[in-house]
Symmetry: C2
Subunit: 328 residues, 2 copies
Protein backbone atom coordinates (compact mmCIF):
# COMPACT_ATOMS: atom_id res chain seq x y z
CA UNK A 1 0.00 0.00 0.00
CA UNK A 2 1.72 3.13 -1.21
CA UNK A 3 0.85 6.71 -1.89
CA UNK A 4 -0.52 5.86 -5.34
CA UNK A 5 -3.01 3.39 -3.91
CA UNK A 6 -4.21 5.96 -1.42
CA UNK A 7 -4.47 8.64 -4.09
CA UNK A 8 -6.49 6.41 -6.39
CA UNK A 9 -8.87 5.37 -3.66
CA UNK A 10 -9.39 8.94 -2.48
CA UNK A 11 -9.74 10.20 -6.03
CA UNK A 12 -6.92 12.73 -5.76
CA UNK A 13 -3.32 13.06 -6.95
CA UNK A 14 -0.34 11.77 -5.02
CA UNK A 15 0.75 15.35 -4.45
CA UNK A 16 -2.39 15.98 -2.47
CA UNK A 17 -1.92 12.83 -0.42
CA UNK A 18 1.62 13.97 0.30
CA UNK A 19 0.31 17.35 1.41
CA UNK A 20 -2.13 15.77 3.80
CA UNK A 21 0.58 13.50 5.14
CA UNK A 22 2.86 16.45 5.79
CA UNK A 23 0.18 18.66 7.28
CA UNK A 24 0.51 21.36 4.65
CA UNK A 25 -2.38 23.77 4.98
CA UNK A 26 -2.96 24.12 1.27
CA UNK A 27 -5.58 21.41 1.18
CA UNK A 28 -9.32 22.01 1.33
CA UNK A 29 -10.98 20.65 4.45
CA UNK A 30 -13.21 18.37 2.40
CA UNK A 31 -10.32 16.83 0.43
CA UNK A 32 -8.25 16.50 3.57
CA UNK A 33 -11.05 14.66 5.35
CA UNK A 34 -11.53 12.26 2.47
CA UNK A 35 -7.82 11.47 2.23
CA UNK A 36 -7.46 11.08 5.96
CA UNK A 37 -10.28 8.64 6.02
CA UNK A 38 -8.63 6.44 3.40
CA UNK A 39 -5.32 6.76 5.21
CA UNK A 40 -6.84 5.64 8.48
CA UNK A 41 -8.82 2.85 6.89
CA UNK A 42 -5.66 1.20 5.63
CA UNK A 43 -3.50 2.34 8.57
CA UNK A 44 -1.11 3.58 5.95
CA UNK A 45 2.50 4.21 6.98
CA UNK A 46 4.62 6.34 4.65
CA UNK A 47 7.99 4.91 3.75
CA UNK A 48 10.75 6.72 5.61
CA UNK A 49 13.17 5.35 3.04
CA UNK A 50 11.49 7.00 0.07
CA UNK A 51 11.10 10.14 2.09
CA UNK A 52 14.73 9.97 3.10
CA UNK A 53 15.85 9.62 -0.49
CA UNK A 54 14.22 12.93 -1.32
CA UNK A 55 14.88 14.86 1.86
CA UNK A 56 18.45 13.60 2.29
CA UNK A 57 17.79 12.76 5.91
CA UNK A 58 16.64 9.61 7.58
CA UNK A 59 16.31 11.38 10.93
CA UNK A 60 18.77 8.94 12.43
CA UNK A 61 21.91 9.45 14.47
CA UNK A 62 24.57 6.94 15.47
CA UNK A 63 26.19 6.46 18.86
CA UNK A 64 29.66 4.98 18.65
CA UNK A 65 30.76 3.92 22.07
CA UNK A 66 33.15 1.44 23.63
CA UNK A 67 30.94 -1.11 25.31
CA UNK A 68 27.44 -0.55 26.56
CA UNK A 69 27.95 -3.12 29.30
CA UNK A 70 29.94 -0.62 31.34
CA UNK A 71 27.53 1.42 33.43
CA UNK A 72 29.04 4.76 32.53
CA UNK A 73 28.62 4.15 28.80
CA UNK A 74 25.19 2.66 29.36
CA UNK A 75 24.05 5.76 31.24
CA UNK A 76 25.40 8.08 28.61
CA UNK A 77 23.97 6.11 25.71
CA UNK A 78 20.64 5.88 27.48
CA UNK A 79 20.34 9.62 27.88
CA UNK A 80 21.49 10.35 24.35
CA UNK A 81 18.96 7.91 22.97
CA UNK A 82 16.15 9.30 25.07
CA UNK A 83 16.85 12.90 24.12
CA UNK A 84 17.20 12.21 20.41
CA UNK A 85 14.10 10.11 20.47
CA UNK A 86 12.18 13.05 21.91
CA UNK A 87 13.47 15.14 19.06
CA UNK A 88 12.19 12.63 16.54
CA UNK A 89 15.43 10.85 15.71
CA UNK A 90 16.15 7.15 15.89
CA UNK A 91 19.46 6.00 17.26
CA UNK A 92 21.87 3.39 15.92
CA UNK A 93 23.99 1.76 18.60
CA UNK A 94 27.57 0.72 17.84
CA UNK A 95 29.76 -1.03 20.41
CA UNK A 96 33.22 -0.60 19.00
CA UNK A 97 35.30 -2.02 21.83
CA UNK A 98 37.47 1.05 21.36
CA UNK A 99 39.05 -0.77 18.43
CA UNK A 100 40.14 1.45 15.58
CA UNK A 101 39.31 -0.97 12.76
CA UNK A 102 35.93 -1.66 14.25
CA UNK A 103 35.28 2.05 14.49
CA UNK A 104 36.14 2.41 10.81
CA UNK A 105 33.80 -0.41 9.91
CA UNK A 106 30.94 1.14 11.85
CA UNK A 107 31.62 4.60 10.43
CA UNK A 108 31.45 3.30 6.88
CA UNK A 109 28.22 1.48 7.66
CA UNK A 110 26.40 4.37 9.28
CA UNK A 111 27.60 6.91 6.73
CA UNK A 112 26.21 4.76 3.93
CA UNK A 113 22.90 5.12 5.68
CA UNK A 114 23.36 8.87 5.71
CA UNK A 115 22.98 9.40 9.43
CA UNK A 116 22.36 13.02 10.34
CA UNK A 117 25.05 13.02 12.98
CA UNK A 118 27.33 10.91 15.12
CA UNK A 119 28.00 10.92 18.84
CA UNK A 120 31.32 9.48 19.93
CA UNK A 121 31.23 8.39 23.57
CA UNK A 122 34.52 7.74 25.30
CA UNK A 123 37.86 9.35 25.72
CA UNK A 124 39.39 6.56 23.64
CA UNK A 125 38.21 8.32 20.48
CA UNK A 126 40.85 10.95 21.10
CA UNK A 127 43.48 8.37 20.34
CA UNK A 128 41.95 6.51 17.44
CA UNK A 129 40.53 9.36 15.37
CA UNK A 130 43.55 9.94 13.18
CA UNK A 131 44.63 8.76 9.78
CA UNK A 132 43.41 9.77 6.38
CA UNK A 133 40.39 7.55 5.91
CA UNK A 134 39.24 8.08 9.49
CA UNK A 135 39.38 11.83 9.17
CA UNK A 136 37.66 11.90 5.80
CA UNK A 137 34.84 9.77 7.18
CA UNK A 138 34.46 11.93 10.27
CA UNK A 139 34.21 15.05 8.12
CA UNK A 140 31.16 13.92 6.25
CA UNK A 141 28.61 14.68 8.95
CA UNK A 142 28.26 16.67 12.20
CA UNK A 143 29.99 14.99 15.10
CA UNK A 144 30.19 15.45 18.83
CA UNK A 145 32.66 13.77 21.13
CA UNK A 146 31.72 13.13 24.74
CA UNK A 147 34.82 13.52 26.83
CA UNK A 148 37.41 14.68 24.43
CA UNK A 149 38.28 17.12 21.70
CA UNK A 150 38.67 16.29 18.05
CA UNK A 151 40.82 18.42 15.83
CA UNK A 152 38.31 18.39 13.00
CA UNK A 153 36.06 21.02 11.48
CA UNK A 154 32.47 20.29 12.35
CA UNK A 155 33.31 18.30 15.46
CA UNK A 156 31.84 19.58 18.71
CA UNK A 157 33.14 18.57 22.11
CA UNK A 158 31.85 18.07 25.58
CA UNK A 159 34.84 18.03 27.85
CA UNK A 160 34.87 16.79 31.41
CA UNK A 161 37.53 18.29 33.60
CA UNK A 162 38.83 14.96 34.87
CA UNK A 163 42.01 16.50 36.13
CA UNK A 164 39.98 18.66 38.50
CA UNK A 165 37.79 15.69 39.27
CA UNK A 166 40.57 13.58 40.70
CA UNK A 167 41.97 16.66 42.43
CA UNK A 168 38.66 16.94 44.25
CA UNK A 169 39.12 13.44 45.61
CA UNK A 170 42.68 14.21 46.69
CA UNK A 171 41.73 17.50 48.38
CA UNK A 172 38.92 15.74 50.17
CA UNK A 173 41.21 13.01 51.48
CA UNK A 174 43.92 15.44 52.49
CA UNK A 175 41.40 17.62 54.32
CA UNK A 176 40.44 14.56 56.32
CA UNK A 177 44.00 14.00 57.37
CA UNK A 178 45.26 11.48 54.84
CA UNK A 179 48.88 11.91 53.87
CA UNK A 180 50.03 8.77 52.08
CA UNK A 181 47.93 8.54 48.94
CA UNK A 182 48.24 6.05 46.11
CA UNK A 183 46.64 6.42 42.71
CA UNK A 184 45.52 3.40 40.73
CA UNK A 185 45.62 4.25 37.06
CA UNK A 186 43.39 1.73 35.29
CA UNK A 187 43.12 3.10 31.77
CA UNK A 188 45.40 4.85 29.31
CA UNK A 189 43.14 7.18 27.36
CA UNK A 190 43.59 10.94 27.30
CA UNK A 191 41.05 11.21 30.06
CA UNK A 192 42.85 8.59 32.17
CA UNK A 193 46.14 10.41 31.79
CA UNK A 194 44.41 13.62 32.84
CA UNK A 195 43.11 11.98 35.94
CA UNK A 196 46.56 10.77 36.87
CA UNK A 197 48.01 14.22 36.23
CA UNK A 198 45.28 15.66 38.43
CA UNK A 199 46.32 13.35 41.22
CA UNK A 200 49.97 14.30 41.04
CA UNK A 201 49.20 17.97 40.73
CA UNK A 202 46.85 18.02 43.70
CA UNK A 203 49.38 16.15 45.82
CA UNK A 204 52.01 18.65 44.84
CA UNK A 205 49.73 21.52 45.72
CA UNK A 206 49.08 19.98 49.12
CA UNK A 207 52.80 19.77 49.69
CA UNK A 208 52.65 15.98 49.60
CA UNK A 209 54.31 15.47 46.27
CA UNK A 210 56.81 12.81 47.29
CA UNK A 211 54.09 10.79 49.04
CA UNK A 212 51.97 10.50 45.88
CA UNK A 213 52.53 7.14 44.21
CA UNK A 214 50.98 5.80 41.06
CA UNK A 215 50.26 2.15 40.33
CA UNK A 216 49.30 1.11 36.81
CA UNK A 217 46.86 -1.67 36.02
CA UNK A 218 43.56 -2.21 34.17
CA UNK A 219 39.94 -1.43 34.85
CA UNK A 220 38.58 -4.70 36.14
CA UNK A 221 37.50 -5.77 39.58
CA UNK A 222 40.29 -8.32 39.77
CA UNK A 223 42.96 -5.84 38.76
CA UNK A 224 41.67 -3.43 41.36
CA UNK A 225 41.93 -6.13 44.01
CA UNK A 226 45.43 -7.06 42.99
CA UNK A 227 46.62 -3.48 42.84
CA UNK A 228 45.36 -2.78 46.36
CA UNK A 229 47.09 -5.87 47.67
CA UNK A 230 50.32 -4.90 45.95
CA UNK A 231 50.15 -1.45 47.50
CA UNK A 232 49.52 -2.76 51.01
CA UNK A 233 52.25 -5.35 50.64
CA UNK A 234 54.76 -2.69 49.63
CA UNK A 235 57.23 -0.88 51.82
CA UNK A 236 55.60 2.52 51.63
CA UNK A 237 52.93 3.65 54.04
CA UNK A 238 49.43 4.03 52.58
CA UNK A 239 46.33 5.57 54.11
CA UNK A 240 44.30 6.23 50.98
CA UNK A 241 43.80 4.75 47.51
CA UNK A 242 42.40 6.93 44.75
CA UNK A 243 41.08 5.05 41.70
CA UNK A 244 40.34 6.09 38.14
CA UNK A 245 37.10 4.09 37.92
CA UNK A 246 34.43 2.90 40.35
CA UNK A 247 34.93 -0.68 39.21
CA UNK A 248 38.61 -0.62 40.11
CA UNK A 249 37.80 1.05 43.41
CA UNK A 250 35.21 -1.63 44.13
CA UNK A 251 37.95 -4.20 43.57
CA UNK A 252 40.36 -2.39 45.86
CA UNK A 253 37.68 -2.12 48.54
CA UNK A 254 36.85 -5.80 48.20
CA UNK A 255 40.49 -6.81 48.66
CA UNK A 256 40.91 -4.59 51.71
CA UNK A 257 37.75 -5.92 53.35
CA UNK A 258 38.75 -9.50 52.69
CA UNK A 259 42.20 -8.92 54.09
CA UNK A 260 40.80 -7.36 57.25
CA UNK A 261 41.97 -3.84 56.54
CA UNK A 262 39.55 -1.30 58.03
CA UNK A 263 37.97 1.03 55.48
CA UNK A 264 38.07 3.95 56.04
CA UNK A 265 39.72 3.38 59.46
CA UNK A 266 43.11 2.35 58.11
CA UNK A 267 42.80 3.06 54.42
CA UNK A 268 40.35 5.27 52.53
CA UNK A 269 39.22 4.43 49.00
CA UNK A 270 37.71 6.64 46.31
CA UNK A 271 36.27 5.79 42.92
CA UNK A 272 35.23 7.75 39.85
CA UNK A 273 31.99 8.02 37.83
CA UNK A 274 29.35 7.95 40.58
CA UNK A 275 27.99 4.80 38.99
CA UNK A 276 25.68 2.17 40.44
CA UNK A 277 28.82 0.30 41.46
CA UNK A 278 29.70 3.01 43.98
CA UNK A 279 26.35 2.86 45.66
CA UNK A 280 26.29 -0.92 45.69
CA UNK A 281 29.51 -1.18 47.65
CA UNK A 282 29.28 -1.57 51.41
CA UNK A 283 30.46 0.77 52.79
CA UNK A 284 29.23 3.05 50.00
CA UNK A 285 32.13 4.27 47.91
CA UNK A 286 33.22 7.89 47.96
CA UNK A 287 33.34 8.80 44.28
CA UNK A 288 33.47 11.64 41.80
CA UNK A 289 30.41 12.45 39.76
CA UNK A 290 31.58 13.20 36.24
CA UNK A 291 28.04 14.16 35.23
CA UNK A 292 27.37 11.58 32.57
CA UNK A 293 23.76 12.59 32.17
CA UNK A 294 24.59 16.25 31.80
CA UNK A 295 27.34 15.46 29.32
CA UNK A 296 24.91 13.38 27.30
CA UNK A 297 22.33 16.14 27.24
CA UNK A 298 24.92 18.65 26.10
CA UNK A 299 26.03 16.29 23.36
CA UNK A 300 22.49 16.12 22.08
CA UNK A 301 22.06 19.89 22.24
CA UNK A 302 25.31 20.58 20.41
CA UNK A 303 24.78 17.94 17.77
CA UNK A 304 21.11 18.78 17.43
CA UNK A 305 21.81 22.40 16.64
CA UNK A 306 24.55 21.47 14.18
CA UNK A 307 22.10 19.21 12.40
CA UNK A 308 19.06 21.41 12.43
CA UNK A 309 20.28 24.94 12.40
CA UNK A 310 23.50 24.17 10.60
CA UNK A 311 25.19 25.59 13.68
CA UNK A 312 28.93 25.48 13.93
CA UNK A 313 30.95 23.23 16.18
CA UNK A 314 31.25 24.22 19.83
CA UNK A 315 33.05 23.07 22.94
CA UNK A 316 31.72 23.01 26.48
CA UNK A 317 33.41 21.86 29.65
CA UNK A 318 31.78 20.18 32.61
CA UNK A 319 33.04 20.36 36.18
CA UNK A 320 32.86 17.12 38.16
CA UNK A 321 31.68 17.01 41.76
CA UNK A 322 32.74 14.98 44.77
CA UNK A 323 30.19 12.57 46.19
CA UNK A 324 31.22 11.64 49.71
CA UNK A 325 30.42 8.07 50.65
CA UNK A 326 31.55 6.03 53.63
CA UNK A 327 34.96 4.90 52.43
CA UNK A 328 36.78 8.15 53.22
Amino acid sequence: MNIYDIAREAGVSIATVSRVLNHKNTVSPATRARVEQVLAQHSYTPSAIARGLVSKSMRTVAILTVDIRFPHYANTAYTIEREFSHRGYDVLLCNTGGNRDTVLRYLRAVLKKQVDGIVLVGSVFNEICHGEEMRSLLCRVPIVLANGKLDLPGASSVLVDDRAGVALAVDHLVSRGRRHLFYIQDKYTTSAEDKCAGFLQAMERAGLGPAGRVVRTHDTLEDGMQAARDILAGDLPCDAIVCGEDLTAAGALKALLRDGVAVPGQVAVTGYNNSAYAYLCEPVLTTVDNKGEQAAQLCVQLLGSCIEKGGSAATVTIQPELVAGKTS
Copy 2:
Protein backbone atom coordinates in the same frame (compact mmCIF):
# COMPACT_ATOMS: atom_id res chain seq x y z
CA MET B 1 28.93 12.18 -5.99
CA ASN B 2 26.50 9.55 -7.19
CA ILE B 3 26.50 6.60 -9.51
CA TYR B 4 25.95 8.85 -12.55
CA ASP B 5 29.07 10.85 -11.84
CA ILE B 6 31.11 7.69 -11.51
CA ALA B 7 29.63 6.26 -14.70
CA ARG B 8 30.39 9.38 -16.69
CA GLU B 9 33.94 9.60 -15.44
CA ALA B 10 34.59 5.93 -16.15
CA GLY B 11 32.91 6.11 -19.55
CA VAL B 12 30.38 3.37 -18.80
CA SER B 13 26.67 3.12 -17.95
CA ILE B 14 25.31 3.26 -14.42
CA ALA B 15 24.27 -0.36 -14.77
CA THR B 16 27.90 -1.32 -15.14
CA VAL B 17 28.93 0.73 -12.12
CA SER B 18 26.19 -0.96 -10.16
CA ARG B 19 27.49 -4.35 -11.28
CA VAL B 20 30.98 -3.52 -10.12
CA LEU B 21 29.66 -2.24 -6.82
CA ASN B 22 27.74 -5.43 -6.23
CA HIS B 23 30.53 -7.73 -7.34
CA LYS B 24 28.58 -9.28 -10.19
CA ASN B 25 30.91 -11.31 -12.34
CA THR B 26 29.43 -10.17 -15.61
CA VAL B 27 31.90 -7.35 -16.03
CA SER B 28 35.05 -7.56 -18.10
CA PRO B 29 38.26 -7.26 -16.09
CA ALA B 30 39.31 -4.14 -17.95
CA THR B 31 36.04 -2.32 -17.37
CA ARG B 32 35.97 -3.43 -13.76
CA ALA B 33 39.46 -2.08 -13.17
CA ARG B 34 38.63 1.26 -14.73
CA VAL B 35 35.46 1.66 -12.68
CA GLU B 36 37.13 0.58 -9.48
CA GLN B 37 39.82 3.12 -10.00
CA VAL B 38 37.31 5.94 -10.32
CA LEU B 39 35.42 4.60 -7.32
CA ALA B 40 38.53 4.59 -5.18
CA GLN B 41 39.68 7.95 -6.38
CA HIS B 42 36.53 9.60 -5.08
CA SER B 43 36.11 7.22 -2.14
CA TYR B 44 32.60 6.81 -3.38
CA THR B 45 30.03 5.44 -0.93
CA PRO B 46 26.78 4.10 -2.40
CA SER B 47 23.61 5.38 -0.79
CA ALA B 48 22.07 2.72 1.42
CA ILE B 49 18.83 4.66 1.22
CA ALA B 50 18.50 4.45 -2.54
CA ARG B 51 19.53 0.84 -2.38
CA GLY B 52 17.00 0.21 0.37
CA LEU B 53 14.22 1.74 -1.68
CA VAL B 54 14.80 -0.81 -4.40
CA SER B 55 15.69 -3.82 -2.32
CA LYS B 56 13.04 -3.24 0.36
CA SER B 57 15.60 -3.74 3.09
CA MET B 58 17.79 -1.33 4.95
CA ARG B 59 19.62 -4.16 6.69
CA THR B 60 18.60 -2.74 10.02
CA VAL B 61 16.95 -4.30 13.04
CA ALA B 62 15.51 -2.67 16.14
CA ILE B 63 15.98 -3.65 19.77
CA LEU B 64 13.11 -2.59 21.97
CA THR B 65 14.08 -3.00 25.58
CA VAL B 66 13.15 -1.56 28.94
CA ASP B 67 16.18 0.42 30.02
CA ILE B 68 19.73 -0.17 28.92
CA ARG B 69 21.02 1.14 32.25
CA PHE B 70 20.14 -2.14 33.93
CA PRO B 71 23.05 -4.54 33.51
CA HIS B 72 20.94 -7.45 32.38
CA TYR B 73 19.40 -5.48 29.52
CA ALA B 74 22.76 -3.93 28.70
CA ASN B 75 24.35 -7.35 28.40
CA THR B 76 21.58 -8.67 26.23
CA ALA B 77 21.49 -5.61 23.99
CA TYR B 78 25.26 -5.69 23.68
CA THR B 79 25.30 -9.27 22.44
CA ILE B 80 22.39 -8.76 20.07
CA GLU B 81 24.08 -5.72 18.60
CA ARG B 82 27.42 -7.48 18.21
CA GLU B 83 25.92 -10.51 16.51
CA PHE B 84 23.75 -8.55 14.13
CA SER B 85 26.64 -6.28 13.32
CA HIS B 86 28.68 -9.32 12.32
CA ARG B 87 25.87 -10.35 10.04
CA GLY B 88 25.91 -6.95 8.36
CA TYR B 89 22.93 -5.35 10.08
CA ASP B 90 22.83 -2.08 11.98
CA VAL B 91 20.87 -1.90 15.18
CA LEU B 92 18.43 0.74 16.38
CA LEU B 93 18.22 1.02 20.15
CA CYS B 94 14.92 1.86 21.83
CA ASN B 95 14.61 2.29 25.60
CA THR B 96 10.89 2.03 26.16
CA GLY B 97 10.77 2.09 29.95
CA GLY B 98 8.37 -0.83 29.61
CA ASN B 99 5.69 1.76 28.87
CA ARG B 100 3.02 0.65 26.43
CA ASP B 101 2.53 4.02 24.73
CA THR B 102 6.24 4.48 24.35
CA VAL B 103 6.50 1.03 22.82
CA LEU B 104 3.81 1.97 20.31
CA ARG B 105 5.62 5.17 19.44
CA TYR B 106 8.89 3.32 18.85
CA LEU B 107 7.19 0.59 16.84
CA ARG B 108 5.61 3.13 14.51
CA ALA B 109 8.95 4.87 14.09
CA VAL B 110 11.02 1.80 13.30
CA LEU B 111 8.38 0.28 11.03
CA LYS B 112 8.33 3.46 8.96
CA LYS B 113 12.01 2.82 8.43
CA GLN B 114 11.21 -0.67 7.31
CA VAL B 115 13.43 -2.50 9.77
CA ASP B 116 14.01 -6.10 8.79
CA GLY B 117 13.13 -7.39 12.23
CA ILE B 118 12.56 -6.49 15.85
CA VAL B 119 13.95 -7.95 19.05
CA LEU B 120 11.88 -7.40 22.16
CA VAL B 121 13.98 -7.74 25.30
CA GLY B 122 12.19 -8.12 28.60
CA SER B 123 9.40 -10.14 30.08
CA VAL B 124 7.34 -6.97 30.33
CA PHE B 125 6.49 -7.28 26.64
CA ASN B 126 4.29 -10.22 27.50
CA GLU B 127 1.95 -7.85 29.28
CA ILE B 128 1.93 -4.90 26.91
CA CYS B 129 1.71 -6.61 23.53
CA HIS B 130 -2.05 -6.68 23.21
CA GLY B 131 -4.62 -4.42 21.61
CA GLU B 132 -5.50 -3.95 17.99
CA GLU B 133 -2.93 -1.40 16.88
CA MET B 134 -0.13 -3.10 18.82
CA ARG B 135 -0.85 -6.46 17.26
CA SER B 136 -1.16 -5.08 13.75
CA LEU B 137 2.19 -3.32 14.12
CA LEU B 138 3.87 -6.42 15.47
CA CYS B 139 2.61 -8.48 12.55
CA ARG B 140 4.36 -6.40 9.93
CA VAL B 141 7.83 -7.83 10.39
CA PRO B 142 9.61 -10.82 11.96
CA ILE B 143 9.86 -10.53 15.73
CA VAL B 144 11.59 -12.37 18.51
CA LEU B 145 10.91 -11.93 22.21
CA ALA B 146 13.66 -12.58 24.71
CA ASN B 147 12.10 -14.05 27.80
CA GLY B 148 8.52 -14.50 26.85
CA LYS B 149 6.08 -15.85 24.33
CA LEU B 150 3.92 -13.77 22.06
CA ASP B 151 0.70 -15.15 20.67
CA LEU B 152 1.35 -13.79 17.21
CA PRO B 153 2.16 -15.40 13.89
CA GLY B 154 5.74 -14.67 12.95
CA ALA B 155 6.88 -14.08 16.52
CA SER B 156 9.68 -16.30 17.76
CA SER B 157 10.47 -16.78 21.42
CA VAL B 158 13.45 -17.45 23.60
CA LEU B 159 12.11 -18.59 26.93
CA VAL B 160 14.08 -18.77 30.13
CA ASP B 161 12.81 -21.26 32.66
CA ASP B 162 12.75 -18.80 35.54
CA ARG B 163 10.56 -21.05 37.60
CA ALA B 164 13.26 -23.69 37.56
CA GLY B 165 15.87 -20.98 38.11
CA VAL B 166 14.49 -19.90 41.45
CA ALA B 167 13.85 -23.52 42.36
CA LEU B 168 17.58 -24.11 41.91
CA ALA B 169 18.29 -21.43 44.49
CA VAL B 170 15.77 -22.93 46.91
CA ASP B 171 17.09 -26.47 46.47
CA HIS B 172 20.60 -25.22 47.02
CA LEU B 173 19.67 -23.43 50.24
CA VAL B 174 17.62 -26.35 51.54
CA SER B 175 20.47 -28.75 50.81
CA ARG B 176 22.66 -26.56 52.97
CA GLY B 177 20.27 -26.84 55.86
CA ARG B 178 18.17 -23.72 55.50
CA ARG B 179 14.55 -24.15 56.51
CA HIS B 180 13.01 -20.71 56.91
CA LEU B 181 13.15 -19.11 53.49
CA PHE B 182 11.67 -15.81 52.40
CA TYR B 183 11.22 -14.72 48.81
CA ILE B 184 11.46 -11.07 47.83
CA GLN B 185 9.35 -10.50 44.74
CA ASP B 186 10.56 -7.29 43.16
CA LYS B 187 8.80 -7.18 39.80
CA TYR B 188 5.39 -8.15 38.47
CA THR B 189 6.02 -9.33 34.95
CA THR B 190 5.21 -12.82 33.73
CA SER B 191 8.77 -13.81 34.42
CA ALA B 192 8.65 -12.38 37.93
CA GLU B 193 5.46 -14.28 38.70
CA ASP B 194 7.11 -17.43 37.40
CA LYS B 195 10.03 -16.93 39.72
CA CYS B 196 7.74 -16.53 42.70
CA ALA B 197 5.79 -19.63 41.69
CA GLY B 198 9.09 -21.50 41.40
CA PHE B 199 9.94 -20.51 44.95
CA LEU B 200 6.63 -21.72 46.39
CA GLN B 201 6.71 -24.90 44.34
CA ALA B 202 10.26 -25.79 45.39
CA MET B 203 9.44 -25.13 49.04
CA GLU B 204 6.41 -27.36 48.76
CA ARG B 205 8.48 -30.09 47.15
CA ALA B 206 10.99 -29.84 49.98
CA GLY B 207 8.17 -30.27 52.47
CA LEU B 208 8.68 -26.72 53.72
CA GLY B 209 5.57 -25.20 52.20
CA PRO B 210 4.32 -23.43 55.31
CA ALA B 211 7.75 -21.89 55.95
CA GLY B 212 7.89 -20.24 52.53
CA ARG B 213 6.93 -16.58 52.81
CA VAL B 214 6.74 -14.01 50.07
CA VAL B 215 7.37 -10.28 50.48
CA ARG B 216 6.45 -7.93 47.66
CA THR B 217 8.41 -4.79 46.80
CA HIS B 218 10.28 -3.26 43.86
CA ASP B 219 13.62 -3.82 42.16
CA THR B 220 15.80 -1.14 43.67
CA LEU B 221 18.64 -1.31 46.13
CA GLU B 222 16.66 0.68 48.69
CA ASP B 223 13.60 -1.53 48.39
CA GLY B 224 15.78 -4.59 48.83
CA MET B 225 17.26 -3.11 51.99
CA GLN B 226 13.86 -2.24 53.40
CA ALA B 227 12.39 -5.64 52.57
CA ALA B 228 15.23 -7.44 54.35
CA ARG B 229 14.78 -5.26 57.41
CA ASP B 230 11.05 -5.90 57.43
CA ILE B 231 11.64 -9.62 57.26
CA LEU B 232 14.16 -9.63 60.08
CA ALA B 233 11.95 -7.41 62.22
CA GLY B 234 8.98 -9.75 61.75
CA ASP B 235 7.86 -12.53 64.09
CA LEU B 236 8.76 -15.40 61.81
CA PRO B 237 12.17 -17.05 61.84
CA CYS B 238 14.30 -16.46 58.75
CA ASP B 239 17.54 -18.11 57.73
CA ALA B 240 17.56 -17.33 54.00
CA ILE B 241 16.32 -14.64 51.64
CA VAL B 242 15.80 -15.47 47.96
CA CYS B 243 15.53 -12.47 45.64
CA GLY B 244 14.17 -12.02 42.13
CA GLU B 245 17.01 -9.73 41.00
CA ASP B 246 20.67 -9.24 41.90
CA LEU B 247 20.04 -5.57 42.63
CA THR B 248 17.40 -6.36 45.21
CA ALA B 249 19.64 -9.04 46.71
CA ALA B 250 22.50 -6.55 46.90
CA GLY B 251 20.17 -4.29 48.85
CA ALA B 252 19.14 -7.07 51.20
CA LEU B 253 22.77 -8.00 51.74
CA LYS B 254 23.72 -4.40 52.41
CA ALA B 255 20.99 -4.04 55.06
CA LEU B 256 22.00 -7.25 56.78
CA LEU B 257 25.67 -6.28 56.87
CA ARG B 258 24.87 -2.84 58.22
CA ASP B 259 22.64 -4.28 60.89
CA GLY B 260 25.31 -6.72 61.98
CA VAL B 261 23.56 -9.85 60.75
CA ALA B 262 26.11 -12.47 59.71
CA VAL B 263 25.86 -13.53 56.05
CA PRO B 264 25.74 -16.42 55.44
CA GLY B 265 26.19 -17.31 59.12
CA GLN B 266 22.75 -16.28 60.27
CA VAL B 267 20.99 -15.53 57.02
CA ALA B 268 21.81 -16.60 53.46
CA VAL B 269 21.00 -14.39 50.47
CA THR B 270 20.63 -15.26 46.79
CA GLY B 271 20.15 -13.06 43.76
CA TYR B 272 19.19 -13.63 40.14
CA ASN B 273 20.85 -12.76 36.80
CA ASN B 274 24.50 -13.43 37.53
CA SER B 275 25.19 -9.78 36.78
CA ALA B 276 28.19 -7.64 37.65
CA TYR B 277 26.28 -6.64 40.76
CA ALA B 278 26.56 -10.16 42.16
CA TYR B 279 30.29 -10.27 41.73
CA LEU B 280 30.78 -6.81 43.13
CA CYS B 281 29.10 -7.66 46.41
CA GLU B 282 31.31 -8.65 49.32
CA PRO B 283 30.79 -11.43 50.12
CA VAL B 284 30.11 -12.37 46.50
CA LEU B 285 26.42 -13.06 46.01
CA THR B 286 25.13 -16.54 45.25
CA THR B 287 23.01 -16.02 42.16
CA VAL B 288 21.27 -17.74 39.27
CA ASP B 289 22.69 -17.39 35.80
CA ASN B 290 19.77 -16.90 33.44
CA LYS B 291 22.12 -17.02 30.44
CA GLY B 292 21.59 -13.59 29.02
CA GLU B 293 24.32 -13.97 26.44
CA GLN B 294 23.03 -17.31 25.23
CA ALA B 295 19.50 -15.94 25.06
CA ALA B 296 20.71 -13.01 23.01
CA GLN B 297 22.55 -15.27 20.59
CA LEU B 298 19.50 -17.44 20.14
CA CYS B 299 17.39 -14.37 19.50
CA VAL B 300 19.73 -13.35 16.73
CA GLN B 301 19.75 -16.84 15.23
CA LEU B 302 15.97 -17.16 15.26
CA LEU B 303 15.32 -13.68 13.95
CA GLY B 304 18.15 -13.93 11.45
CA SER B 305 16.76 -17.05 9.87
CA CYS B 306 13.26 -15.59 9.76
CA ILE B 307 14.63 -12.56 7.96
CA GLU B 308 16.98 -14.27 5.58
CA LYS B 309 15.52 -17.64 4.88
CA GLY B 310 11.95 -16.58 5.48
CA GLY B 311 11.98 -19.24 8.18
CA SER B 312 8.95 -19.67 10.39
CA ALA B 313 8.69 -18.64 14.01
CA ALA B 314 10.24 -20.92 16.60
CA THR B 315 10.48 -21.23 20.36
CA VAL B 316 13.46 -22.34 22.39
CA THR B 317 13.83 -22.64 26.14
CA ILE B 318 16.94 -22.01 28.19
CA GLN B 319 17.72 -23.63 31.52
CA PRO B 320 19.28 -21.38 34.14
CA GLU B 321 22.15 -22.48 36.32
CA LEU B 322 23.07 -21.84 39.93
CA VAL B 323 26.24 -19.85 40.57
CA ALA B 324 27.31 -20.41 44.15
CA GLY B 325 28.90 -17.39 45.78
CA LYS B 326 29.72 -16.73 49.42
CA THR B 327 26.33 -15.63 50.69
CA SER B 328 24.86 -19.12 51.04
